[in-house]
Amino acid sequence: MEKLIERSDILNFINNGDTLLVGGFGLSGTPLTLIDELAASDKKDLTIVSNNLGEEGRGLGKLLLSGCLKKAKGSYFTTNRDAVQAWSDGKLEIELIPQGTLAEAVRCGGAGIGGFYTKTAVGTKVAEGKEEKVFDGETYILERAIKGDVSLIKALKADTLGNLVYDHTGRNFNAVMATAGKIVIAEVDEIVEAGELDPLEIVTPHLYVDYIVKNKYVKKRRKIR
C-alpha cells in the first residue's frame, strides 16, 4: 500500500511555522499517535487549527507543553488550563472562532471558496473588525476560508486506496480537515483491502488522503472508570 508510512515519517512533511489542521473534539477522534511524534520533535512556531487544544498534557495539550506551538485557532480552549496559562503568559496566541464558523471555514478552504457570510456572532466581540453585509434584511458577517499546510486526522479504518470511515462521533472535524490541507495524513486503527468498505459508507474519499499511519494505541472500546 503506497500511502502507508511509518509514523516518524510525518516529520518530513511538517516545517517550522506551518499551519496544521487537526481533527478531533476534545480527545475524541484525535490523531494521538501523530501528535506524539510531533511532540517528541523539535518543530517550532506551529499554528494549530482545531476545535480544542486537548486537555492538560493530553492530545494537543502535549504539543503545547513540548513548545511546538505559536498559535491556536479553535472554538474552546477553556478546558485546558495549560492553554489558558500559556495565553496569560503571552506564550501562546489564541484566535477564538465559533464552532460552526470553524467547521464551515475549513470546509470552504477545502472547497475553493474564499469566504462566506454567516449570522453566527453578529453583534459580538468575535465579529469586531469583520465586514458586515445585509441579505434580505438580516445582517451577516464575512468569514474567511481556512486552509492548512498539513492536516492530521484520525479515522477508524482506511482501505488500501486511502478511503476513510470514522468511528461514530469520532468523525467530528476530521472529515472537513481532510479536505483543506495541502498534505493530509490520516492515523487509523485498521487498514482493509480496497473494496471492503461499502461505497455508501465511505466518508472521506481517497483523493483527499496522502498518507496513512497506523495507530500505535490499542483502542479502548470498553473503558472502565
Binding site: 473534539f25 477553556t78 465559533p98 464552532q99 461514530h168 467530528n172 479502548k220
Partner: protein, 217 residues
C-alpha cells in the same frame, strides 16, 4: 446535584413537545432527559449525532461516541451520524427546534451573554453563538442568581453578548419569564416568593398579569 437545578430541568422539560429536535447545552440542560416522561424528542449533539441516547453502562463506553459535553452516550433508534460542518448546517440553518442553554446574563429583551466574563480570559465559545444565531427557539435554563449573588436577568448586559438573536424564555428555580418586544414578562412563579420578593432579586423590570400577582403574592 442541587434540588434547584433539578427543579429547573423539570420545568424546562414541560416546554418540550413530542417530535422536537433539541440541542442541550452543558450544565443544567444535560439533566433534562431524565424528566421527559413519555415525551419523545430527538437530541442533537453538535459533535455529530442526531438521536442521542442515555449514558451507556461501563462495559459499553466508546470514547468516540460522546456528547458535546464529552460524556459517553448511546444512540437512540433512528439515530444518524454526521460531521461537524453538517452538524452546523442543522444548527445555523434553523433546523433545530429548540436550544436549551445556560447563561451568565440575559437582558430584558432576551439578549444572551453566555460565553465570556469581562476582564477574565475569553478562551471558549464552542457552539453557543451558532446555536444563538440559528436555533428556532431558545430557552435559557439557569439559576436565578449568579454565584456572587447578582441577578442573571438584567436591564442591560454588562457581560459580552452572544449574539443579536434573543432568547424566548428564561427558566430559573424561582420563575418562568417570557421575552417579547415589550420586554420581560413573568408568566409563572415556581417558588414561594411573592412578586415583590422576586422583583428584589431580579435585575430587570418585568410585566405580569394581576391574576398571577394575586394568586402568587
Amino acid at each position: 446535584m442541587s434540588l434547584e437545578r433539578i427543579k429547573i430541568a423539570k420545568r424546562v422539560a414541560q416546554e418540550l413537545s413530542d417530535g422536537e429536535v433539541i440541542n442541550l447545552g452543558v450544565g443544567i440542560p444535560t439533566l433534562i432527559p431524565d424528566y421527559l416522561g413519555d415525551k419523545k424528542v430527538y437530541l442533537q449533539s453538535e459533535n455529530g449525532l442526531l438521536g442521542m441516547g442515555p449514558t451507556p453502562d461501563e462495559e459499553n463506553i466508546n470514547m468516540d461516541l460522546i456528547s458535546a459535553s464529552k460524556k459517553p452516550i448511546t444512540m437512540d433508534t433512528g439515530a444518524s451520524l454526521f460531521d461537524s460542518s453538517d452538524s452546523f448546517v442543522m444548527i445555523r440553518g434553523g433546523h433545530v427546534d429548540l436550544a436549551v442553554m445556560g447563561a451568565l446574563q440575559v437582558d430584558q429583551y432576551g439578549e444572551i451573554a453566555n460565553w465570556a466574563v469581562p476582564g477574565k480570559t475569553i478562551l471558549g465559545v464552542g457552539g453557543a453563538m451558532d446555536l444563538v444565531a440559528g436555533a428556532k427557539r431558545i430557552i435559557i435554563a439557569s439559576r436565578h442568581l449568579a454565584k456572587d449573588g447578582s441577578p442573571k436577568l438584567v436591564k442591560e448586559l454588562t457581560f459580552p453578548s452572544s449574539g443579536v438573536r434573543k432568547a424566548d424564555m428564561l427558566i430559573t428555580e424561582h420563575a418562568v419569564f417570557k421575552f417579547t418586544e415589550k420586554g420581560t414578562e413573568l408568566i409563572e412563579i415556581l417558588s414561594d416568593l411573592t412578586v415583590n420578593e422576586l422583583k428584589e432579586i431580579t435585575g430587570a423590570e418585568f410585566l405580569y398579569s394581576t391574576q398571577l400577582s394575586k394568586s402568587e403574592s
